[in-house]
Amino acid sequence: MTPRRRRLLLVIGILAGVGIAGVLALQAFRTNVMFFFDPTQVANGEAPAGERFRLGGMVEDGSVVRAPGSLEVRFVVTDFQRSVPVHYTGVLPDLFREGQGVVAHGRLGSDGVFTADEVLAKHDENYMPPEVSRSLKTPQPGTTAPPQG
């Protein structure tokens, strides 16, 4: 075996070793790497009970209720299988709205209501001008179903 060949095998060996170690480590940490739990995971008891965790999902359409004269807001986070009611007092980010992704950080109470102390908006990967967004929502006559955004 030439020295160059030995060095080539050494580099391949390093890559294979690091790759396998990386895959095993990420498998072991999988739940810890998760930034948030979705409502189905919460319903299955996968989220840590009594501890702070992040709840992520969509804000259910028509579920946002603001208390008049305060920053208090109630809404429902859903993944279209299960849903969790959320209670939050504070300033909401610009992108917070019904039908959009959201990540709430807080605790799940024994009454099943999630009390959040921080609410972040999760943006999706779709970018379009306002007029395109409007035309997607109102189906044009003569065309088939509008594409899903």
């Binding site: 580099v11 930034f35 980010p93 992108l95 972040l120 990967e125 001008p129």
Partner: protein
């Protein structure tokens, strides 16, 4: 197969001259494309239906993030070539990629934080994508630090090459983090299979910026490669001859 073309790259005077010839061929198109892309992205492109004008930071953020990964991959590949074929010129290229890649990583993190505060509601979250990109910055800094800590250039080349190769595992982690795990960062809009999730009037300037930033990266690396070769070969006869001529 004739490998002389490959070994010619290993000759420092050849690579020095080749890099010098190529710099303007990358730098000028980069300047024109970035100017055109910025005008298209900041002036011509329509505002987003939800983010308004705030989305325009994508025109700097996404190309920077792409180059932060591209630069690291190139650094690891050239370091491996240098390690396997004992090619000093390849190590010089790897060493030149590191600071440029590190600055693109800083740009990606910085623009992302500026966008994150109004849109997500926070500058920073310990999310898989954001954390992996921060680890990428530390890998660059570790590589640069390791090189400057070892006096002997050959030992510095070999030690830092191993670090670059080990760290390349982080590149797919950054790229696929948003698909493997729940993340606050959105999924890719452009760098994916299938139709881009961004409308054409917004996408065109973005693609121009991607090409412009990549050419800028190439030009910056070539300039650094020239400096790195001169620094390493300062005792060599061809450098003395070139300077005294």
């Amino acid at each position: 197969m004739d490998w002389t073309w490959f070994h010619r790259f290993g000759s420092p005077p050849h690579l020095y001259r080749l890099a010098g010839t190529l710099v303007p061929w990358f730098a000028w198109p980069a300047a024109i494309l970035i100017a055109a892309g910025l005008y298209g992205g900041l002036v011509l492109a329509p505002p987003d239906y939800q983010q308004g004008d705030g989305f325009r930071i994508i025109y700097v953020h996404a190309p920077s993030a792409w180059l932060s990964l591209m630069a690291y991959t190139m650094m690891a590949v050239t370091a491996a070539i240098g390690l396997i074929w004992r090619m000093k010129a390849a190590h010089a290229v790897a060493a030149s990629c590191a600071p440029v890649g590190a600055w693109f990583t800083v740009a990606a993190l910085g623009t992302g934080m500026l966008w994150g505060k109004p849109m997500w509601g926070t500058y920073w979250a310990w999310d898989p994508r954001l954390t992996a990109e921060l680890v990428l910055l530390f890998l660059y800094l570790g590589y640069i630090g390791l090189r400057s800590a070892i006096e002997d250039p050959q030992r510095a080349d070999r030690a830092s090459a191993v670090l670059a190769i080990v760290g390349v595992i982080n590149v797919p982690i950054v790229r696929y983090s948003v698909e493997w795990w729940n993340s606050i960062h959105q999924a890719p809009s452009v760098m994916k299979f299938g139709k881009p999730s961004i409308s054409w009037p917004m996408l065109t300037p973005l693609l121009i910026m991607f090409v412009g930033f990549t050419l800028l990266f190439a030009a910056l690396v070539l300039v650094r490669v020239r400096a790195e070769i001169l620094r390493r070969e300062r005792q060599a006869r061809w450098v003395t001859e070139m300077v005294t001529q």
